[in-house]
Amino acid sequence: MAAEHAAAAVAADPLDSAPLLVGKQDNTTLTGNLLAHVWARPDKGWLLSFLIALSGSGALVLAITVTLAEGIGAWGNNIPVGWAFDITNFVWWIGIGHAGTLISAILFLFQQRWRTAINRFSEAMTIFAVMCAGLFPLLHTGRPWFAYFMFPYPSTLEMWPQFKSPLIWDVFAVSTYFTVSLLFWYLGLIPDLASLRDASKSPIQRKIYGIFALGWRGSGRHWHNYKVGYLLLAGLSTPLVLSVHTIVSFDFAVSLIPGWHTTIFPPYFVAGAVFSGFAMVMSWMVPARHFLGLKHVITMRHLENMNKIILATGMLVGYGYLMEHFIAWYSGNQFEWFVFFNRATGPYRGVYFLMLFCNVLTPQIFWFKKARTSIPIMFIASIFVNIGMWCERFVIIVTSLHRDFLPASWDMYYPTWVDITLFLGTIGFFSTLFLLFLKFIPAVAVSEVKELNEELQHRTAPVTVVTGA
């Protein structure tokens, strides 16, 4: 009921900053303006961005080739810093994916209407981010062509995977996450692909979109099952997204390394994942809604709500830092305390303070409505959060390892050009996929926005009657 009231009040409540849909829309105008960017010829801006992104993907291929030809020695990893850029990047990318599932599944279950215009966009981000993430542990195995050893299949080795290892849990968690995200995304996409098929003017487009639309004809008998299936997939994705970053945090928490072996890791990692994911959605959405002409469906209301979530999860992450330090001190364990002392005063203190600045201080600006509704501020803040969350994973991984139990074995980690190229390359690869997505698929779930539009028009009517009487 509360949700209905909230929706009913959209047009009337003066406290609401912006409506969910701007202007009077109907199914015909929505079909026109939400698909317009797919039919438009790619403009110079898109081509230029695509070219840059594609060069990034090229750099990725180069870095992978060097890694495979030369081995892990091409990276800066050493003993004691056995995990460095690779696992930092892995955790960062996986975390970025989590906002997509949160928006598409959790906000769907809570019937948050503002999710509708941004879910397709962020689900796509999830899939591409997980693809980038998966690359790093795969390469870090050293011989990725044997990576299938991690799957349980009967082989002449007569050996099975070691299921008590968190690293194998990770294999299952990440592959399940990727599969389920892809199915959920594609299922949501089917009606829109049919919409593209039947709105297209050229026979080639009709044929290609027709293949992917699977013959969807908006049948009531189909919708009947489709709605239930979509709801159930959302219900399954919700615990799944929490489990994935929990299991990623187990990679650390289940070990005995001071700085890693803490029980706060699972919730703290999940909060950080949502935090960084929303920041990444923001970084892409601000330019995309401008260039694709989607300002009437992705309104200031959406952006402001996302900034509120960034503020909330930023506070959770800040609380995580606080508790980590408190427990390290309170435990009375000298190794545990040393790790935290070393983070703030050791050779990597620059990264540590950058992390605090980006993750704890930056989101505080969103207490102010002016900042929450200012496009330049939110864009810059989201970039800061992305940087800050990358620094967080670097701090957790590298500073915990580089000064371990015996001072004689202490060492420093410096990334090589291959490390850096690999990381920047995945950003290029991600951008390439994302730009292709923005070009060929509607960035907004057209069918869901039409349904939302219908609901909003129906629900506003009774309210005016009540206030009139």
């Binding site: 109907d26 199914n27 015909t28 079909t31 349980p152 007569e158 050996m159 099975w160 995977p161 070691q162 299921f163 008590k164 968190p166 194998i168 849990w169 299952f172 399940t176 599969t179 389920v180 199915l183 959920f184 299922l187 089917i190 009606p191 049919a194 919409s195 098929r197 039947d198 709105a199 027709g210 699977l214 013959g215 969807w216 004809r217 908006g218 049948s219 009531g220 008998r221 919708w223 009947h224 099952n225 489709y226 709605k227 239930v228 299936g229 159930l232 997939l233 399954l236 994705s237 615990p239 799944l240 489990s243 299991i247 187990f250 057209v446 069918s447 869901e448 039409k450 349904e451 219908e454």
Partner: protein, 188 residues
């Protein structure tokens, strides 16, 4: 079961009468009335699910939840028993003195296989229930019908064999449908 009439009645080329309605509500109302006249093999076509559309078509509970539960339980027991067999029985693996069958360590993967199989069964179960992918359907013979996934609200009536469709056409027009047409499935 609901599909029986539509899919198995006529051995050669089925015929559909199509009509477009003004709005979702008009379509739902018409759907009730057409069913009252005894047409069972009917379907609505709309860009998004219609409010009250399931009841109007007389559809019962969806079978998707049971399919999902079956898949989920298979994943749960399959995943857990797989680990018990592989690490506990077939090749007992001693890692740090932990027992070969270590229930807490098996929980994360059990959870993942549960979600994975439930999701796969939902997705492929849905495709099976919807009989998709279906590259060809007679309704696409009408070019106007292509608005059904964009901004049109269409009703399709699959004619019983031997019917010339005059009664259905008249009924749809009387209910306020526009662009009423008859399409024949092309049989090759």
């Amino acid at each position: 079961m609901e599909h029986a009439a539509e899919h198995h009645a006529a051995p050669v080329g089925k015929t559909f009468v199509l009509g477009r309605f003004e709005s979702g509500e008009a379509l739902v109302d018409a759907c009730y009335k057409v069913r009252e006249k005894g047409f069972e093999a009917i379907d609505t076509h709309s860009p998004y699910p219609l409010h009250g559309g399931d009841e109007a078509l007389g559809l019962g509970r969806s079978r998707v939840p049971r399919i999902a539960l079956t898949g989920g339980l298979t994943g749960m027991f399959g995943g857990y028993l797989m680990m018990v067999y592989m690490n506990g029985l077939n090749w007992p693996l001693n890692v740090g003195g932990r027992p070969p069958h270590a229930p807490p360590s098996f929980i994360p993967i059990t959870f993942e296989t549960t979600v994975l199989l439930a999701s796969l069964s939902i997705f492929f179960g849905l495709l099976a229930l919807m009989r998709l992918p279906q590259p060809y359907h007679a309704v696409f013979e009408s070019e106007e019908f292509r608005s059904a996934v964009n901004d049109g609200f269409w009703l399709s009536v699959c004619l019983p064999s031997g019917s010339d469709g005059k009664d259905a056409t008249a009924l749809l027009s009387q209910l306020g449908a526009r662009e009423v047409s008859t399409v024949k499935e092309s049989v090759e």
